[in-house]
């Protein structure tokens, strides 16, 4: 194509009309302030946004010409539609899913959200809505996933070098080995994302917010070498609400015993669900709502707290029995969150003994008898049963469980000698 030459007469005239001011200087710090201020106010809770929007309708009609409405959210329906190759990828999620695992994505509605240029090249994020109001996503040459119901507050994938495994497949829990984090946050609950580092640094990654029907923001962050050194590594990805309170947190590791309740729980509204007397005092299961309409449960024992199951978003059910063995100083507790139709939980030991625990408001909490904390008398299987005593699933092989191992491989102290933890 041939470019039109500049018309010298016109150029001269235009230069006189609006002369170039070579001395004009900007203020970059002012640009930063404006960008940050807008980013901070743009993610108001939806209800508040609706109310404000209604209130603005009249005002907008009056001042619209001068009003710059600025909602930097990608309009999903106006985004670029996915090519056939990507549509097929989303279709395979549905067609290849095991029974009950179909996210019911709508492949034909998949659209491009963004392209991020990362250390290993560009990656494009494609998102498809699901029938149930959620979405599935895929990054080209990287990870993907689904939030079928659209209620997950925060999902984080921690990645080592190269094409990245799903979170549960990551080979190394050491945080210094992670080179990248990506994820999404639910726009109904989350206002901003923070990356928190061991040295106290906090980084707010760019988040690509997408309108309904997706209603989520997506982020990806390459961790530079300096942020992978011990003492400077990423220790948590935190989702905050508009008041700066933690909505959800992901530390890249299974939950550990701490001195406090899960940060996602609204502790002031907690309820004691189950409690037992142990050799070292009371053990207690608490349940509390979250800031994302979900629920959290944690075990409190010996002055410590443990989120023994992940806090659950609204609408997502547990399986028949989500449980964990919890080692204490010289003891083992079995704690779990069970489905409503579970009437009893039976533990069978290697010597033929059995114990039966009954859920309290959906939770099981039991102290394993001391005589069964030794080799040869250890727990072997667990099964949950309905009210008629019928098993609700095949017995779990205790030693084959991924969430914890029992029994311990060394003789256990049974009479006051403290050594531990010894089971997880």
């Amino acid at each position: 194509m041939t470019a039109i030459e500049l018309d010298p007469v016109l150029a001269e005239g235009l230069a006189k009309l609006v002369p170039l001011d070579e001395s004009a200087r900007g203020d970059w710090s002012d640009v930063e302030r404006r960008a940050n201020a807008r980013a901070a106010r743009r993610r108001a809770p939806r209800l508040r946004l609706v109310l404000v929007a209604l209130a603005l309708v009249v005002a907008f009609a009056l001042v619209a010409p001068a009003l710059g409405i600025d909602l930097p959210v990608l309009d999903f329906w106006k985004a670029e539609k996915a090519p056939p190759r990507v549509v097929e990828d989303f279709r395979s999620l549905t067609e290849g899913a095991p029974a009950g695992m179909d996210p019911e994505a709508l492949p034909g509605e998949a659209r491009k959200v963004t392209t991020a240029v990362l250390s290993d090249g560009p990656h494009t994020l494609w998102v498809a809505p699901t029938r149930a109001g959620g979405f599935c996503l895929t990054w080209t040459n990287a990870s993907g996933g689904c939030d079928q119901l659209g209620t997950v507050p925060l999902s984080v994938t921690w990645m080592a070098a190269g094409p990245l495994p799903a979170r549960e497949l990551r080979p190394e829990p050491s945080r210094t080995s992670f080179t990248r984090v990506s994820g999404f946050a639910n726009a109904d609950y989350v206002h901003s994302i923070e990356l928190r580092f061991a040295d106290g640094d906090v980084v707010r990654p760019n988040v690509s917010w997408v309108s309904e029907p997706i209603g989520a923001g997506f982020f990806v962050y390459d961790l530079p070498q300096a942020r992978r050194a011990s003492g400077h590594e990423l220790i948590a990805v935190v989702a905050l609400d508009s008041n700066g309170q933690i909505v959800a947190e992901d530390t890249g590791r299974p939950s550990e015993s701490t001195g406090s309740a899960p940060p996602e729980a609204i502790v002031d509204e907690r309820t004691a669900i189950a409690r037992i007397r142990t050799r070292h005092g009371e053990a207690l299961v608490w349940e509390a709502p979250t800031r994302y309409e979900g629920r959290c449960a944690w075990l409190e024992y010996e002055g410590r707290s443990l989120a023994f199951v992940p806090c659950m978003p609204k609408g997502y059910p547990f399986g028949a029995f989500a449980f964990r063995f919890v080692p204490t100083a010289d003891d083992v507790l079995l704690v779990g969150w069970v489905r409503n139709d579970v009437a009893s939980v039976e533990v069978t030991f290697a010597d033929g003994d059995r114990i039966v625990a009954h859920p309290q408001d959906g939770f099981v909490l039991v102290e394993l008898p001391a005589e069964h904390l030794v080799r040869g008398r250890e727990a072997r299987t667990i099964v949950s049963r309905d009210i008629l005593g019928r098993p609700l699933h095949a017995p779990f092989d205790v030693n084959g469980l991924g969430g914890g191992r029992y029994p311990c491989l060394a003789p256990l102290p049974l009479h006051g000698t403290r050594s531990g933890p010894f089971c997880l």
């Binding site: 005239g13 006189k16 900007g26 690509s208």
Partner: protein, 149 residues
């Protein structure tokens, strides 16, 4: 850095669109803030500079005082500064152009952008830029020819 090196050009184009120096500076600041804040939405299909120009032009369009006050200083001020009827006439003719033609002229003459960058900045096809500038030149030359007679 684009901001530091090209600020006078951004300010000039924004001033041409908004018709006011202060509004122009605001538009440039807000435009860069928009570009920076939404960098994750940048699709990488054009130059980064064109992306920033798009943001600044959009801000300047929103900020302008009125459709008829499109260029620089008002005629009476320009006259006092030594400009005359030629500039006043050109101002009127530029103001009379359809918006896309006017913006394309500004980006071509003030910002010195090529067609691809103008296309990105105005969110149109490159061929549209060519046609738009052709049309703008025809309109302006016709007026210039009338004045010359």
């Amino acid at each position: 850095m684009l901001y530091r090196e090209r600020f006078p050009r951004f300010e000039q184009v924004a001033r041409a669109i908004a018709g006011d120096r202060e509004l122009a500076r605001e538009a440039v600041q807000d435009g860069f803030a928009d570009a920076w804040r939404s960098a994750d939405l940048y699709e990488g299909s054009g130059s980064v500079e064109a992306w920033v120009w798009r943001c600044v032009v959009n801000r300047a369009k929103r900020a302008r005082r009125a459709p008829v006050e499109l260029l620089g200083e008002p005629p009476d001020v320009a006259a006092k500064n030594g400009s005359g009827e030629d500039e006043s006439g050109l101002r009127t003719r530029i103001a009379a152009l359809p918006e896309r033609q006017r913006l394309a002229v500004f980006l071509r003459y003030y910002a010195d952008l090529d067609y691809a960058a103008i296309a990105d900045a105005l969110e149109v096809e490159v061929g549209t830029v060519s046609a738009t500038l052709n049309q703008a030149h025809r309109n302006l030359r016709a007026e210039l020819a009338k004045e010359a007679r």
